[in-house]
Assembly symmetry: C2
């Protein structure tokens, strides 16, 4: 089990940063460190045993699954926040890291433990999470295979007369039927003029002959996500549609070619953006080129003009250039890729298009 390793790595960071412990609040971070999906809080000290706090509803499951931590039960008539603060106080920490706590919780801890130095360590956790280990890569690959199968289904069935959500229903069913644990995000099927909205509309439109249809879909497998987009035409493709599809496909190809460990993330964005600008559509590429993906659909490293990231072996990212012309429609093509030392390995199936 690699989750114990991950806790060890976190402890090393705490030692290096001279912080006594970290209180982990984000459920996905807790899952990352314990393989338990319903933890309430996880306290990792720089040395010694980690404590997973769980509500009674999850206590039996936690005992079964979370083997690398001590489990502390929050009883049904206990105030969880009071208990956590009291445990932290008992352990006598002088400093405490935190990940994504709310302002309210931050203020509560600060007011209760006035001598405690609080330190934001979200980035430190991301420095671990954004480099996927072998086990994680295997799960994302499975999610990507399922996603590709869902997309294949979409390509088979999209036709005029179907409602957008009917297409989504078939895609999700195909992925689920093959073993997906759910969707990584609400499936986007958007057609006609609504395809100019990158996130789609209500998903209720009837697909018409000659419509652009953007399908953006992701399966989840044991918590891990994949993400894939294809742009189809329902019926005969116009010259303009064809031209847009070719530009976006080439922008994606150029960007993917640039990916390898050591490359600046913003440079990958720039390659695709430059190509789209040169073809006259720069103002219509209204989002970043891509994003990291793992337990979250969107996570570091971001591939955008403002990103300060340098790609590392083990990053998993999407590359998804797009052109969106108001009232006309949009085109987006997206794959999920693993960053290797000397190239990007495509995890979603490029042959599906």
């Amino acid at each position: 089990m690699s989750s114990s390793n991950r806790i060890e790595k976190m402890k090393n960071i705490l030692v290096k940063k001279d912080v006594d412990a970290i209180l982990v609040s984000d459920e996905k971070n807790i899952y990352y460190f314990t393989e338990f999906p319903w933890g309430f809080r996880l306290l990792i000290p720089a040395s010694g045993e980690s404590i997973l706090f769980v509500h009674s509803v999850n206590y039996e499951a936690a005992k079964e699954i979370a083997k690398n931590v001590r489990i502390d039960l929050i009883r049904i008539n206990e105030k969880a926040d009071v208990k956590i603060v009291s445990e932290i106080s008992k352990l006598g920490f002088k400093s405490l890291g935190f990940d994504r706590i709310s302002a309210t919780e931050y203020l509560r801890i600060k007011d209760s433990l006035k001598d405690l130095r609080l330190e934001a360590l979200d980035d430190a956790i991301w420095s671990l999470r954004k480099i996927k280990d072998e086990g994680e890569v295997a799960l994302i690959k499975r999610a990507a295979e399922l996603t590709s199968q869902g997309m294949k289904k979409a390509l088979e069935i999209v036709r005029p007369g179907l409602r957008e959500w009917e297409v989504a229903a078939e895609i999700e069913y195909e992925m689920r039927r093959l073993g997906s644990s759910g969707v990584a995000f609400d499936t986007i099927v958007c057609s006609g003029p609504e395809s100019a909205f990158p996130h789609g509309g209500l998903g209720e439109r009837e697909i018409k002959d000659g419509d652009i249809v953007i399908v953006d879909v992701g399966a989840k497998y044991r918590g891990y996500c994949a993400d894939m987009t294809r742009t189809l035409i329902a019926g005969r493709m116009s010259e303009k549609q064809k031209n847009l599809c070719e530009i976006v496909a080439e922008a994606q190809r150029l960007a993917i070619d640039r990916i390898r460990a050591g490359v600046r993330a913003k440079e990958v964005d720039e390659v695709a953006r430059k190509y789209i600008v040169e073809n006259g559509y720069g103002e219509y590429f209204v989002h970043s080129l891509g994003h990291g993906i793992g337990l979250n659909v969107h996570e570091p490293p971001a591939l955008g003009p403002m990103s300060e990231e340098i790609l590392q072996t083990g990053n998993v990212v999407t590359v998804e250039p797009g052109i969106y012309i108001p009232r006309f429609g949009g085109v987006r093509i997206e794959d999920t890729l693993l960053v290797l030392e000397d190239k990007a390995e495509r995890l979603t199936d490029e042959r599906i298009s």
Copy 2:
């Protein structure tokens, strides 16, 4: 459109609390006030125009959908947080409410605008959101109907030999096919000893003859959630299984009978809990009786022993007593209900069981 009303109500709260404006960060809160699902931040001043900040990826859609606010574009090369702080500063507010910002964002605003008084107003937004208006009730009713249809499907198909996720696949497909916009949460199908874990296991177990199977499912419709659980037996029911099911059903009936406006939420929990305790299973009812539901699956008002809420007309809540016996299995029955002046109206279909 009722979202303008909602902003007016928020403004009244600001005036009453003597706070100049609120910075709304939670996407669902932003949706509540604007009907726009992908807002980045919404600034509602105590008087004057509200401003919706959106990233360029959502700008065109925001102009189409969010009619009751001014839309402010965050360009792709702008730092969103810097822009928000600068806008707040320009407007000269002396005090600013916030909903669910992270500790990091809170500290950033505090450090940048040292004279600004910051005030947590999450509860104030919940005081609005937990009372559903007519439009919201209609959407939740639709979600509940779709959920009931999904559950009906589950009852038809559950049998020994199926994997848990195969059942989930059929349920979700049925709901989607009928028009659901997605799932409110990952569908739980857990069988045999794993049904003793209220949130289930991996969802990969093969259902065996005589197994308890807990199915917990929720459709989403235009952002609004429903939630429903039934406990089935794959094959012949044992006496002990039957007894547990009867106790939980009666506990649910007693609790629902107690619901009406003006009743303390903890009292409703107590009615069900007392009955389960009297039947000797108190220690196995390891969670609260229920929760509010709307744009979030879990939201105020909570129906639990620690809840300070008093039920109000227009609350929508679940009632879901359960008994979970480690290594034996669990039973849970859940419906979604609308609180009325003198009773609870069931939104999920009680005839499905």
